[in-house]
């Protein structure tokens, strides 16, 4: 896509019009353009008294002091070795060399599913998390949450002691109290004893739950996962009669249709999906073997952004579309109501059928069960079952009848709950508003809460137990495919915490109490001998523990199940109720209730009303990460906002209601209401309004408490994902959202280059076709003699999905501080690698592109030339190095950097107060003080480590021996780093690609970082339209 819309030829008139900010669609208004309008300036003057901002980062200072107070416990604790597992030092553990990091394999769970990771451990301090290359859900990469987990481990706000009614107590006291309680309820078979957990895949915990229910038949286990997969589970039940788990093989798909499914962010397998999907996106592959992705979604997602065709549709209309699709594929039999998107339907259907056995239809968890069922049937009809999509017995512990949160609340109301044990859940915050869980909780005589933080639920509990972090305990968990990883502790519990398994053991009064023993006993059969156990620990997974794939046939009567009600049924209320979260909807019996039925297309959305959609926040999910500063400050992948959630509305709705970014609106739904700032989101379905869960925490920590607004306040158990009948009222007030990107238009500058597959096939070098100097512009200066290595980096924009894992991995590796909302508003965020996002095309459904931008390591670096003190210079291997302790902070280098990748410590951002967070820091990387410029270094500390290793063995550094943090974490391997002087190196290969181009090459800065142009694979029949 040179030319990008306006193309090479620049139209001054148009530019003037746009730049004046007075014209052009409201959507493109960036903050500065807003500044043109007097009202905004007025407001800015009143609402943003600069003095207040100058006088300080109040939150940070608060954090600093409080952190210091809390530190003592942490600092003393982190020296302590685990009691019995880690071998005493005198025995010189294998591979331990003082000062050198060691890596241990373990697992982190997300929504209960295991992600295999390797944890870098510096002399007993876990400092960085990498993916485990051998783990199926990771393949060496991780998502942003795994990266942030290390900060969570060292979070000074974590709960540190047992609390009884808020007063500090001890485990012994709790054990004693628990004994009485269990004894009471034990007499009548555990009646009144209820256990509430999140999704459970841990074999140990599953066994414990079984044992518990065996010992206390009358006891109940409830499942509560705010972002649950109940709909898909129910869908599987409908389709197969059993809640089978599905497994996608995107690498085998040629055509993918996602019905509101953000499969690249799937909590269980997102990372794996990304890798598999990227594998099908290389246009170089013979025969242009590039897959085609269709996405229908209501609110922009990462998956939608990489789609070849994206159709924004209200959630309800997606149902209608699916129904029409199902009928076309012979899965439904009924007279159809017409849909407006028939062109799309035709194109998609023909494409799907043309790729029989190589296509895939996926459905999002926010869509109702019947759609999931229909999708299974359609995949079967398309011959994809067993090929692109496979089924296995459930990976997670399937909840039986009456195991939902709603039923728990009913039981409480009925007064039949005597003892409630909540393991690592926070329903007092994240339960749907209509359940009024907080009120219910107060009725329970005895409540026990295990959690990492003293949160909203802990406040209301009789007993709060500090939970040990995943990196502090023994545990086990299954990956999306059932592969088991034994989680081993990297450090003894910093505080007095225990794991869920240990608490369960306590609850049952089991003789074995220690986490290690519990897990070891669970696997005594499979990993009988010690070598097997050690091997499993070293590999980070238990060999062939994956759950076998089984054939699954769609029940023949599914058509009738999905048949619409003869008399127009109730309009679908929000795709599957939470009650299905427990997986115990009547569907399980097979009889189709109204809820499960395909809707007749009578959704309020399609009639001009507004629907409200609930989604997990892109960076803090359902709220469990809200106290994590890295994630709070990580720009949300599509909005680039930090520290806040917003009310996402479509440009057309904004125009209709005269709303502008940052305007506070009141949302009214079913008698409840909340206020939040508007963010106009290109590509949002016209009548859909999206709010993200996870903010508005009443009790989270110094970082998370009180940020944003609480979307749960409008969430109901009947419509957990969407509710119709939303009202929006403008309040006229404003709130300044803190975004890291102000301008989303490329202004016809070809910093990011895109073409279609057709372009690529006609001219593989389309990316540089318009460049004056396709490779190197001439220079007056002689080249410097080549050094031992020539480091370079290549970023494949075709693989990049814009997930921002690179940004946060870099933050973890390089001790990059967070600066807080006010400083981000000022444009002072510190991320060394940012992911830019550009829109192209019409605001209602633009193409969305992501571009990671680290330092370009220019050979003719403009920054170096202007530094008066030699604080940034070039080394012999082509690195543009920054010498922090020589920097006086003129900032000319940043002004002179055309890529604006340099970051400056305008204030003292790094907290030097003694604080557990200090223990997280990477000892290999200098911590920068105030007044110093910093930037991406290609992870020079890793390069140097490799140098030392190679020198010791008197050899060259091998290709792939040095992985930069961003490269290592990238789920799609879009980033390749290595030695350019070695023609066979991966990076040299990558740069040899026909799609290779450099950003702003005409400036003759000669960047060592370069890009591979993005290639879209549109369906010709749709591209016309």
């Amino acid at each position: 896509m040179p030319p990008l819309k306006s193309g090479q030829s620049f139209d001054p008139a148009a530019a003037r019009a746009e730049l004046s900010g007075q014209s052009g669609p409201v959507l493109w208004r960036s903050l500065e353009e807003l500044a043109d309008n007097e009202a905004f300036r007025q407001w800015l003057r009143q609402e943003q008294p600069r003095l207040a901002e100058v006088l300080g980062l109040d939150r940070r200072q608060f954090l600093r002091t409080l952190g210091a107070a809390l530190a003592l416990a942490g600092v003393t604790a982190c020296g302590r070795p685990p009691q019995n597992e880690i071998i005493p030092y005198v025995h010189a553990p294998v591979g331990q060399v003082d000062g050198l990091p060691r890596f241990f394999a373990t697992a982190l769970t997300r929504n209960g599913y295991a992600h295999g990771v390797l944890v870098e451990n510096h002399m007993g301090r876990p400092t960085k998390i990498e993916g485990n290359p051998r783990h199926p859900a990771s393949l060496g990469a991780t998502d942003i949450f795994a990266q942030a987990a290390i900060l969570q481990l060292w979070d000074p706000d974590r709960s540190q002691t047992v609390r009884h009614r808020g007063v500090i107590s001890s485990w012994d006291d709790f054990a004693a109290a628990l004994l009485d309680l269990t004894a009471q309820s034990g007499r009548n078979g555990g009646a009144g004893m209820h256990v509430l957990t999140g999704e459970v895949t841990s074999p140990t915990l599953t066994a414990q739950l079984d044992a518990l229910l065996q010992k206390f038949p009358a006891a109940r286990w409830h499942l509560h996962e705010p972002l649950d997969s109940g709909n898909s589970r129910a869908g599987a039940r409908m389709a197969f009669g059993a809640p089978l788990s599905t497994r996608l093989h995107l690498d085998r798909a040629r055509v993918i249709l996602s019905l509101d499914d953000d499969f690249l962010c799937d909590p269980a397998a997102g990372v794996r999906h990304a890798r598999d999907f990227a594998a099908t996106r290389a246009p170089e592959k013979a025969g242009g073997g590039m897959s085609r992705l269709y996405v229908l979604e209501s609110t922009p997602s990462i998956t939608g952004a990489v789609a070849d065709h994206r159709l924004p549709l209200e959630s309800a209309r997606i149902e209608a579309f699916s129904r029409a699709l199902a009928r076309r594929l012979g899965v439904l039999e009924d007279q159809a109501d017409s849909i407006n998107e028939s062109a799309w339907l035709d194109a998609i259907v023909s494409d799907l059928q043309a790729n029989h056995g190589h296509s895939l239809i996926t459905v999002g968890r926010s869509q109702p069960a019947w759609m999931h069922a229909a999708a299974h049937a359609m995949n079967a009809a398309l011959g994809n079952s067993g090929a692109v999509i496979e089924y296995s017995d459930p990976v997670e512990r399937v909840p039986e009848e009456g195991a939902s949160l709603a039923q728990l609340v009913n039981a409480i109301r009925a007064g039949s709950v005597d003892l409630l044990v909540m393991l690592d859940v926070n329903p007092a915050y994240d339960a749907p508003a209509d359940l009024e869980f907080r009120a219910a909780l107060k009725q329970v005589p005895h409540v026990v809460h295990l959690g990492l933080y003293v949160d909203e639920s802990a406040e209301l509990s009789e007993w709060h137990l500090p939970q040990a972090h995943a990196l502090e305990t023994w545990s086990d968990a299954r990956a999306f495919d059932g592969t088991v990883t034994i989680g081993q502790p990297l450090i003894a519990p910093l505080y007095d915490g225990r794991s869920a398994c240990e608490v369960m053991a306590l609850l049952m009064g089991a003789e074995v109490q220690k986490g290690h023993d519990l897990v070891r006993r669970q696997w005594r059969a499979k990993l009988a001998d010690e070598p097997a156990w050690v091997a499993a620990l070293q590999a980070g997974l238990i060999a062939d523990s994956a759950i076998a794939v089984r054939s699954a046939s769609v029940r023949p009567d599914l058509k009738s199940l999905l048949a619409p009600p003869k008399s127009g049924g109730a309009p679908p209320q929000g795709g599957g109720a939470l009650s299905q979260g427990g997986g115990a909807p009547p569907e399980s019996s097979g009889a189709p209730p109204q809820k499960g039925r395909a809707p007749s297309q009578s959704s309020s959305a399609s009639q001009g009303g507004l629907e409200l959609l609930f989604r997990g926040d892109p960076t803090i999910e359902d709220g469990r990460w809200s106290n994590n500063a890295w994630l709070q400050e990580l720009p949300k992948p599509l909005t680039q906002l930090t520290w806040d959630n917003a009310v996402l509305i479509s440009p057309s709705l904004a125009a209709e209601r005269h709303l502008s970014n940052g305007e506070l609106v009141e949302l009214r739904l079913q008698g409840r209401s909340l206020r939040g700032p508007v963010w106009i989101t290109p590509g949002q379905a016209a009548r859909s309004v999206t709010i993200h869960l996870g903010y508005g925490r009443r009790r989270s920590g110094q970082v998370g408490t009180g940020q944003g607004f609480d979307a749960y306040a409008l969430r109901s158990s009947s419509g957990p994902w969407r509710s119709a009948g939303l009202q929006i009222l403008a309040t006229g007030e404003r709130y300044e959202l803190a975004g890291t990107q102000q301008h989303f238009q490329m202004e016809g500058r070809d910093v990011l280059r895109v073409g279609t597959l057709a372009d690529f096939q006609t001219n593989p070098r389309f990316a540089t076709a318009h460049d004056r100097y396709p490779d190197k512009p001439p220079s007056l200066y002689p080249d410097y003699p080549p050094g031992e290595y020539a480091w370079g980096l290549s970023i494949d924009l075709n693989a990049c999905i814009g997930c921002k894992a690179c940004t946060i991995a870099c933050q973890a590796e390089n001790n990059i501080p967070t600066v807080g909302r006010d400083q981000v508003r000022r444009g002072r965020e510190m991320h060394w690698i940012r992911v830019d996002r550009y829109y192209e095309g019409h605001q209602d459904n633009p193409h969305t592109y992501s571009q990671p931008v680290p330092c370009m390591m220019c050979e003719h670096a403009p920054c170096e030339l202007v530094c008066p003190v030699d604080a940034t210079v070039h080394d012999s291997e082509g690195l543009n190095v920054q010498i922090y302790n020589r920097c006086v902070g003129t900032r000319f280098c940043s002004n002179n950097c055309p890529y604006k990748v340099r970051r400056f410590n305008f204030l003292q951002y790094v907290q030097s107060s003694s604080d557990t967070l200090l223990a997280q820091r990477n000892p290999e990387v200098t911590v920068r003080r105030r007044g110093v410029m910093e930037k991406c270094t290609y992870c020079i500390q890793r390069i140097e480590a490799a140098h030392i290793e190679a020198d010791k063995q008197d050899r060259r550094i091998g290709d792939g021996e040095v992985l930069t943090a961003c490269q290592a974490v990238c789920p799609t391997q879009a980033i390749v780093f290595g030695d350019l002087s070695d023609g066979r190196s991966q990076v040299a290969q990558a740069k040899a690609s026909a799609r290779h181009y450099v950003m702003l090459g005409e400036l003759n800065t000669r960047p060592r970082t370069s890009y591979l142009a993005r290639v879209r694979n549109p369906n010709p029949s749709l591209e016309q339209g």
Binding site: F10, P12, L19, S20, G21, S30, L31, E32, E33, Q48, R50, L51, E53, V54, Q741, Q742, H743, F744, M746, G748, R749, V751, Q823, R826, G827, R834, D836, Y838, V853, P862, L865, V866, P868, V869, D870, R886, C887, V888, G889, T890, R891, F892, N895, N896, P898, Y899, K900, R902, R903, F904, N905, F906, Q908, R930, G931, V932, M933, M999, L1000, L1003
Partner: protein, 457 residues
């Protein structure tokens, strides 16, 4: 301005004694009343604000200003360029006019030089305070370092460092040397003993011996000869601080001459803005005559026109080159979020000075004063425009961002003005505001003048 009669510019030529007395009485006998006290009080308050600001800056860091990425330079640098430009005017007037033997200069050069010295001193604060770690500013100076590191000579900031250093020292010496004979006059007329001592100390025991005068004149002449190119070179360095960068709006080889023109422009404006009230307050109309003001006005107009030409050529270049980035930057300036700065500059530096074509305007001190203040404002706006509107939208649209000043940005600007006036008002109170020995020479009889009129030997 052609070579002119020696005594011109000074009405009804008085005697040596009268001249000397008139000037000496200002520091020695004159009562400084409300006007001066009030002005000094205000200036002092602002200066104190600056001091407090500096303290806070050292405690918290440059983050107290509105700086960010991409706009990593803003007010402080604008203030710096503004002040040092003002600092160019004085030396130029004094030196250039001496070289071309404009005798009438003798009424102006002293306070013009004074203005220069103080303006340069004030401007020198900003580059240092602007550093992320001000206490390491000396790293720009080449000294044997134990790490054996040196300054990076290719950076225009390094050049600028030397330029400011040289210019500050030279202008101070030039100013002081010129004052030695006048300090002698003050010494000999001081009533109180302490004053006599102080002035005597400053006069270094000057006696006005013929050979001394000879060396003195030689030095003054060569100093002037050096000062003029120095002015040009120094402000060219300041220009290079920007044109060495490749930021659209900065990367321009013709900056140096334009910057020099701008410097003289604002310099003359400041001389007028200071001179008009001063001559009125100190009753110096006899010495600083409307003729002086008119000449200054003419020079201001001339330099102003060069500046205006530079604006045109910049805009022309952008459109002529059709370079995407230059063009976008230019259009941004005219129509973007900071358009008001651009148009404000045009109003102050282009439109209003056209009034100076009218002799009536040039002869009206009040109007001249207003215009020259307008020019000073305009020149500050120009610097702000040059810096901020070039940075806030450069190459990669994703990194575009706004700059909003904080109270501290304002405080430092106001404070620097305050500091300048504290210094200047103090000098007016205690120093010889007009070069007496030159006045004496200027008022001596035509016969002697003819004698004295130096022929190029």
């Amino acid at each position: 301005m052609s070579a002119s009669l020696p005594s011109e510019g000074i009405e009804h030529a008085p005697t040596y004694a009268a001249v000397t007395q008139a000037i000496c009485d200002i520091p020695l006998r004159r009562r400084f009343g409300q006007g001066w006290r009030a002005g000094f009080a205000v200036a002092l308050l602002l200066a104190l604000l600056l001091m407090f600001g500096i303290g806070w800056l050292l405690v918290r860091g440059v983050g107290i200003w509105g700086l960010n990425i991409p706009v990593a330079w803003a007010f402080a640098i604008a203030d710096y360029v503004w002040w040092i430009a003002i600092g160019m005017g004085g030396t130029f007037i004094s030196a250039a006019l001496l070289l071309v033997r404009q005798e009438w200069r003798s009424s102006l050069n002293r306070y013009a030089e004074t203005m220069t010295v103080f303006a340069v001193s004030v401007s020198g604060l900003f580059p240092i305070l602007h550093l992320g770690r001000p206490w390491f500013f000396y790293w720009l100076f080449p000294y044997p370092d134990i790490m054996n590191v040196w300054p990076q000579w290719r950076s225009s900031l390094e050049w600028d460092f030397f330029a400011i250093l040289a210019y500050l020292i030279v202008s101070i010496l030039y100013w002081y040397i010129g004052m030695i004979p006048d300090f002698a006059s003050l010494r000999d007329r001081a009533a109180s003993r302490t004053r006599a001592r102080v002035y005597g100390f400053l006069a270094l025991g000057w006696r006005g011996e013929a050979r001394h005068w000879q060396r003195f004149e030689k030095l003054s002449l060569i100093l002037a000869g050096l000062a003029v190119p120095l002015v040009f070179s120094v402000h060219s360095m300041v220009a290079l601080d920007f044109s060495e960068g490749l930021v659209p709006g900065w990367h321009s080889t013709i900056f140096p001459p334009f910057f020099v023109a701008g410097a003289l422009f604002s310099g003359f404006a400041m001389v007028l803005a200071l001179g008009i009230p001063m001559r009125r307050y100190l009753r110096l109309e006899a010495f600083i005559t409307s003729r002086h003001l008119e000449n200054m006005a003419k020079m201001m107009l001339a330099t102003g026109l060069v500046v205006d030409y530079s604006y045109c050529s910049e805009i022309f270049t952008a459109f002529y080159s059709m370079d995407r980035y230059e063009l976008a930057m230019t259009l941004n300036r005219m129509g973007g979020a900071y358009a008001w700065v651009f148009w404000g500059t045009i109003l102050c530096n282009v439109l209003q000075i056209q009034l100076l074509w009218l002799a009536r305007i040039r002869r009206s001190p009040a109007v001249l004063f207003i215009i020259s203040v307008g020019v000073l404002i305009g020149m500050w706006l120009e610097r702000f425009m040059l810096i901020v509107t070039s940075l806030y939208r450069d190459y990669v649209p994703s990194s575009w961002g706004m700059f909003y000043p904080t109270v501290w940005d304002i405080a430092f600007l106001a404070g620097s003005v305050g500091l300048f006036f504290v210094l200047f008002l103090t000098f007016v109170r205690v120093g010889p505001v007009i070069s007496m020995f030159e006045l004496r020479r200027a008022v001596c009889s035509p016969a002697e003048a003819a004698q004295r009129e130096p022929q190029p030997s």
